[in-house]
Symmetry: C2
Subunit: 176 residues, 2 copies
């Protein structure tokens, strides 16, 4: 797909606007602690659909649903600005899915592929990168839960849950 | 909201599973270049709804929809693994929205709030952080488009578009 294809997709906005009933202001969000769901960018990982979610939770998505420094940044932001700083972030769910591209293809595959396109002087830098590849879905969820729990810049009482999402049955199962 | 509330939300999965008609394997994704849409974690920034999107595009979400190193990592991953590395990433859309929390509250507010909870020896580190705050939606989109275009590790022909999403009318407008 290309930019032309993206512009075609953007035309779907016309119908949306016609039936749009308005939205609340940020300052009118309820004065309660927020929740964040962190999951994969994969189109099969649409948690709004998978959990039939109501309007409310903030959703973070990246390759794998990994607890990267940027995911922590986003959590720190929400923890700081809810209800003009009077509320915070109450809980986070980390959801990784089976058949994830980062399980099928690890860092080594990704780095070899990147080297085919990048000039040679960048190859060493590529080797030093972590693209988030993993081999065991449950282990990667636990690893990311621990990273979030250990972050000194997030609220002390923050609760962190983890769920495996089976891409083929649609079922999510809490990791305990 | 709390972990108990997240577990309540997770129960919405039961209905989803009942009507779930299965999904394709990663290896069965079409052999064509992928597209990514990068947008905010805010519940009002659900681009699948805003563009009435069909199944397909990968979605990145973080605080603000910013082109952070982690967003670039995710783009590099998808560019490397599509169709077993035979396809790549064709186009990216950067979408920021009006009334974003990161416009209402900039880095200074966030850092003051974080310092209220973090031990004093971490305050200097907080001051050095960039939480992605911005003041002008169009300018932040253009800034992020430039960051993506300048990334040496992404495909040379990658097309990058930008859209402003009006949170109150639901309308998206391309930035040109």
């Amino acid at each position: 797909m290309s930019a032309a294809m993206l512009r075609e997709l953007a035309k779907g906005n016309d119908e949306h606007v016609k039936s749009f009933s308005g939205s609340i202001k940020f300052s009118d969000f309820p004065k309660q602690d927020a929740v964040i769901i962190l999951t994969c960018m994969d189109p099969r990982s649409n948690i709004i659909d998978t959990w039939n979610l109501p309007f409310g939770p903030a959703i973070l998505r990246n390759a794998g649903g990994r607890a990267t420094p940027d995911a922590l940044r986003s959590m720190q932001v929400l923890a700081s600005i809810m209800a003009n700083g009077q509320s915070t972030l109450g809980a986070v769910a980390v959801i990784h899915h089976t058949d994830c591209g980062l399980v099928n293809f690890g860092n080594d595959f990704i780095h070899e592929r990147m080297k085919m396109n990048a000039p040679e002087h960048l190859h060493k830098q590529i080797d030093g990168m972590d693209h988030g590849g993993f081999t065991d879905v449950e282990a990667s969820i636990k690893e990311d839960m621990a990273i979030i729990k250990a972050d000194s810049f997030l609220p002390k009482g923050l609760e962190v849950l983890g769920f495996i999402h089976d891409s083929f049955t649609g079922k999510t199962t809490e990791v305990v």
